[in-house]
Each structure stands twice: as C-alpha cells, then as structure tokens.
C-alpha cells in the first residue's frame, strides 16, 4: 500500500486553483451584477427625489438596462461557445480544404481521398452498418422490454439492471465484452463466455475480434448493450403516459395484446420512439471509444470518428482528419432535419 501522497499534491493544488477560479468567476459575476444595479437604482432614486422636489416631470426608468443584464448573464456562455465551439468548427471546415500541415489550399482533394481510398470506404461502410443496426436493435429491444416489464413484479429492479450499463464508460464496457469474446487455443480451457458456449455446443473456438465482418457486429453488440437501457427508460415512461381510459376502452372492446400493441401503444408512443431513434443515431455516428478500446480500428472495424482521430492526431493529416469531421457533421444534419419536421408536425397535429 505504498501511496505517495506528496507526489500527488500538485494535482490537488491544481484542482484547488480550478475551484478557486470557479468561485472567483461565478461569485464575481453575481457580485458585479448585484452591486452595479443597486448603485444605478440609488442614483435613479436620488433623481426621483430631486425631480419631485423641483416639480419637474419624473425621469423614466432607463430601458436599455435589461439588455445590459442579459449581456452579463450570457457573457461566459457566449464567450466560451465562440472560442471553444463556433470558431473551431468554422476553422475545421476551412482546414478540410487544406493540406496535411494546413499551409496550402488543395480544394476538394481531401474529400476525393475520402471517397476513393478503399480503406476509408470500408470505414464509411462500417459506420453505415453501425448507424443502421444500433438504433434499430437497441430501440426494438428497449421497446419490447418496456412492454414486457410494464406492471410485472420486480419491475423497478429489472429495469435498473437493464439500465445499469448506461453508467459504465464505453471503455469499461468494451473491456467487459472483450472478456466475453476472449479466445484461448483449441487445446486450452476457454476463459471467454462466448467461446465457452461455442465449445460446449461442439464448435471450434474463434478469435472473434479478428474475424471480419463478424467483429463489427460484436462491437455493435457492446453499444446496443449500453444504449438499450436508454431506449427502454424513455419508451417505458411514454407507455405509462398513455391515458388509462384509452387502454381501458380498448380492453373492454376485447382487443388482443397484439392489437393493443400495434393500435394503441405504438401510435401513442410514436414521438418518444422518434426521439430515441434520432438520439441513438447521432450518438452512434460519433462512436469512438468502443472501437478504439476493443480493436483500435484494426481488422476492418474502424469507423469515422476513429479514423478522424487517427488522421488528425496520429498521422498528422489535419486536412484529411478535418474532412472526416466535416463529413460526420454533414451526416448528422439530415437526421436533425427529420427530427425538426416531426416536432413541427406534432405541434400542428
């Protein structure tokens, strides 16, 4: 148990500075906003008193002060968004039209590379498979489970168990599943659950994570395992929000559970369903940690976010990395437009 606290003290000191900065910035801002207006208010009062004493018309409350307040309330957020998000995003777009070292303009060359290099085409195909399968499987599973578990005993416990992986990091989840997929040679005892099942069914053990395209499906399973809980919780809440009289009326009409599901449950939870699918699609597009931890993108498993990291931060290819980032952004846009259109339809309907 040799833990050297002294060696770690700089970190705590830094954390202390961080907290101090937090108190100073937030406290300072609130104080500033408190002191300055009360000074103005006092001056205004003094003016009022003077005006009423001399019989002159009463001065009106200055109006632009609301805007000034808003500015100060919004200042930290706007500043950080400009410096940390908007500015960089614009710059990334520009960089995607420049060469590896960001010195010369190269036009659309990076995009041409993206759609012609077979390795990158493989990456794009993989991403497509991810984006189709994860939302589909996770949402269907979450929906079936939410219906199944509705009003059974131990509902809360069962839901918690499904929901639990949401708290686990993608890195941790990848290690958990890598252990499930672990491989030992034919002559040894298997330590991975999946290979043990294969062997006990009389099959040959496999190095699952090296077998393309099966490995991509196995990585997708990790994401489904994490996200199904999210789908289940949101959909379960939507199911519980269906008005009881509708369900009761349907039951009195003697509908079968099957009809109940398709004619009562589904139409009623459609908005929640769309939100879940959209959220999962966007999250899946950006998936990075799982691929990096489980295979590091080897054996034909790489996806866009992973390739973007490699290009920009390992190979020093800023142009190509930026082009991949921009493409990722472009892929998100249609999903969001679909979502907005749906929301608008709901409001009107």
């Amino acid at each position: 148990m040799e833990f050297d606290f002294i060696a770690e003290k700089d970190k705590f000191l830094m954390l202390g500075y961080g907290l101090l900065a937090f108190v100073a910035v937030v406290g300072g801002l609130l104080l500033l906003l408190d002191v300055v207006p009360s000074w103005f208010a006092r001056r205004h009062e003094a003016k009022l008193v003077a005006a009423s004493a001399s019989g002159a018309p009463l001065p009106r409350w200055p109006k632009q002060r609301e805007g000034l307040f808003a500015l100060f309330f919004l200042l930290p957020t706007l500043l950080l968004l400009a410096v940390g998000l908007v500015g960089p995003a614009i710059r990334t777009t520009l960089l995607s039209f420049m060469d590896a070292g960001s010195n010369d303009w190269v036009g659309l060359r990076n995009y041409g590379w993206m759609f012609s290099d077979p390795a990158i085409l493989r990456v794009l195909t993989n991403t497509l498979v991810w984006v189709i399968l994860v939302p589909l499987v996770a949402t269907s599973f979450g929906l079936v489970y939410a219906v199944l578990v509705d009003k059974v005993r131990f509902e809360a416990v069962a839901k918690s168990l499904i929901f639990l992986p949401m708290a686990i990091s993608f890195v941790g989840a990848s290690i958990i599943w890598k252990f499930v997929y672990a491989y030992r040679g034919d002559d040894q005892q298997q330590i991975g659950l999946l290979n043990q099942i294969v062997v006990s069914l009389g099959g040959e053990p496999k190095f699952f994570l090296q077998e393309s395209p099966l490995n991509t499906l196995l990585l997708i399973m990790i994401m489904v395992w994490i996200q199904a809980g999210f789908a289940m919780v949101v959909l379960s809440a939507a199911i519980k929000a269906i008005p009881a009289d509708i369900v009761e009326a349907a039951r009195l009409d003697g509908v079968t559970p099957w009809q109940m599901f398709w004619q009562i449950t589904m139409p009623n939870i459609r908005p929640a369903l769309i939100v879940v699918v959209v959220t999962l699609s966007i999250a899946t597009l950006k998936v990075f940690d799982i691929v990096r931890t489980a295979t590091n993108g080897n054996y034909d498993t790489s996806v866009i976010a992973n390739e973007m990291y490699n290009q920009a931060f390992r190979y020093g290819q800023n142009g190509q990395g930026s082009a991949l980032a921009v493409f990722l952004f472009v892929l998100v846009i249609p999903i969001v437009i679909y979502q907005i259109r749906n929301l608008r339809q709901q409001r009107e309907g």
Partner: protein, 319 residues
C-alpha cells in the same frame, strides 16, 4: 327496448365467462412476463458479473479457467486490486489516474452548470432584442459533433490565436498537471449547448407570476436568480450534474487529446484503454482496473437515478 334486454343479458353472460378465462390467461401471461423479463435482466448483467467475479480471482486462475469455475472452486484474492491500484508503473498505478479523473471531473461539472444556468435564466426571463434567435442558435449548436472542434482547439491551446500575423491571444504553455485546465475548458465548451437547453426547459416553466411579483417588489435580476430561481431548479441542476459527471468521467476522446497520456493528467479511461491495447491479455489487471473505473459512476448513478431519469426524459422527450 324489449328486444334489447335479452341481448344485453346474453352479452353480460358472455363477458362473465370470458373474464374468468381471460383472468386466468392474464395471470399466466403476467407470470410469464415476469419470468421472461427477469431472465433477460439477469442475462444483461452476466458480462459485468463475470468481470466482477474475475477481478477477485488469482492471476493464474483467471488466465487458465473461465470465471464460472469460481462457483465450484472458489479462490478469491484482493491481490489484483492491490497491484493495479498501487503497483509499479507498468502494472497500472491506477490510483494516480483515479485522482486525475477526480481533478478533471469536478470543475468540468461545476463550470457548465453555473454558466448555463445564468444563460438559461437570461434567455427565459430577461427581455432583450434577438432573444429567441440567440436561444435557437445555442440550441442548434447541440448538433455540432465535438470532432469539429478538436484540431483547432488543440492549436488554440498550443500556439494561441494569431490574426493576420498579430498574436491576439498567447499560447497557454501548460505543463504536467496544469493541463487539467485545458480539459476543463474543452469539456465546459462542449457541454454548454446541451446544458443551456436542458436548464432552459426547466427555468422557462417556472411560474411567471412569481417573477412578476418579485420584479414588482423591486428585486433585480441577479437577486431573483439567486433567491428564487436557483432553489427552485435544484432538481434540474442535479439532473444535469449527473449527466455531465457521467459524461466527463467516462469520456475518452477529449481526455486523449487535451490531457497528456502520462500519469500527470490522464484519467482512468485513457489508462484503461492503453492497458487494454498493450496488455490485452493481462486480465487480472484489466478486470480489476475496469472495476476501479466503474465503481464511482455506479455509486453516483444508483444513488441519484431518480434525478438522472427525470433529466433524461426532460432532455429527450420535450426535445
């Protein structure tokens, strides 16, 4: 009337018969549902459980036999945890990284909460021109993948900002543990659009009469914010806090880029991903290490699940 009466009677009899049948069937159905849903829930937990059991098994056992043999031949030890937490550099030394994770996470949760609640209040209750447009713009920023910001933001930290050959902002030039500041900054920026959106959802639903009354009483905006709004939105702050905590603690990408890989700044996730790559067969370390990283978010999650679910529903369904 006269013809209707017998039909009604027959109908009542028929429903009486089917209710008994359907009651039996329903009970059977609900029992099947209970069993099936519990079986699925247990299956869902098996991978985590296997890892958990393994983390307590001796090294030679983990590497040669499946974790399920621990039921017939139980041998447990804390050696793995001892090794991975406090052992020499190559075996993990996760305690250093654990501290890094804490040092990264706490400010990265506090800053966006404070800034976003201020902004959300202004967007909800202060009248100024262009308010709706500003809100829509911040809302829309949620869709920008953080990949769009990584390269320039790293450059911003390392070389500062130069416009037309003039150094406008200097480089940050941070070393070792000072790099925490970069990670805080990045996480805060990336969290703000969602934070503003989520908190605005809550703050804008506070009763307008309350604000009006406070204004009439002469309370200023900062005063209303501190004494009325903040106490009322604590559940929302908790919800976002948990989100952000889980997100930052579990994040790999941002830490990989803005914290150095060494034990000075890198969080647990970075170290674990590294161990999984370079020492992928050292299961005694990986299993224990994974659990060290999982335990904190698990505690936070289980103890505050109610707030988390509420935030999840508010953030996604009202969308």
């Amino acid at each position: 009337m006269t013809t209707a009466t017998p039909t009604v009677g027959a109908g009542a009899q028929a429903t009486g018969a089917t209710t008994t049948a359907s009651r039996v069937r329903k009970r059977l159905n609900s029992r099947t549902a209970t069993v099936v849903s519990i079986v699925i829930a247990v299956l869902w937990t098996v991978p985590t459980f296997g890892l958990f059991i393994s983390s307590f098994r001796p090294e030679d056992q983990i590497k040669t036999t499946g974790w399920w043999t621990a039921f017939t031949d139980p041998q447990f030890t804390l050696e793995n945890y001892q090794q991975v937490l406090f052992g020499s550099g190559s075996s993990g030394r996760l305690i250093s990284y654990f501290i890094n994770s804490l040092a990264i996470t706490i400010p990265s949760v506090l800053f966006p909460i404070a800034f976003a609640s201020l902004a959300a209040y202004a967007l909800a209750w202060i009248n100024f021109r262009g308010r709706d447009w500003l809100y829509i713009a911040i809302f829309a920023l949620q869709i920008v993948p953080l990949q769009m910001a990584l390269v320039p933001l790293l450059k911003f930290f390392s070389t500062g900002v130069t416009i037309a050959g003039v150094q406008v902002l200097p480089a940050w030039n941070l070393v070792d543990e000072q790099k925490f500041a970069q990670v805080w900054f990045a996480h805060t920026c990336f969290a703000l659009p969602f934070a503003v959106f989520l908190l605005h959802n809550f703050i804008s639903q506070l009763p307008g009469d309350l604000m009006e009354a406070a204004r009439v009483d002469g309370a200023s905006h900062p005063r209303i914010f501190r004494t009325i709004v903040l106490p009322l939105i604590t559940p929302a702050l908790a919800a976002f806090g948990i989100f952000q905590f889980l997100w930052v603690w579990n994040d790999l990408l941002v830490a990989l880029i803005f914290a150095d890989g060494g034990d000075e700044t890198a969080p647990l996730t970075v170290r674990l991903a590294e161990l999984a790559g370079s020492r992928g067969n050292e299961w005694q370390r990986l299993t224990a290490g994974a659990f060290v990283s999982i335990v904190v978010p698990l505690i936070v999650f289980l103890s505050l699940q109610r707030y988390f679910v509420r935030g999840l529903l508010a953030g996604s369904v009202k969308g």
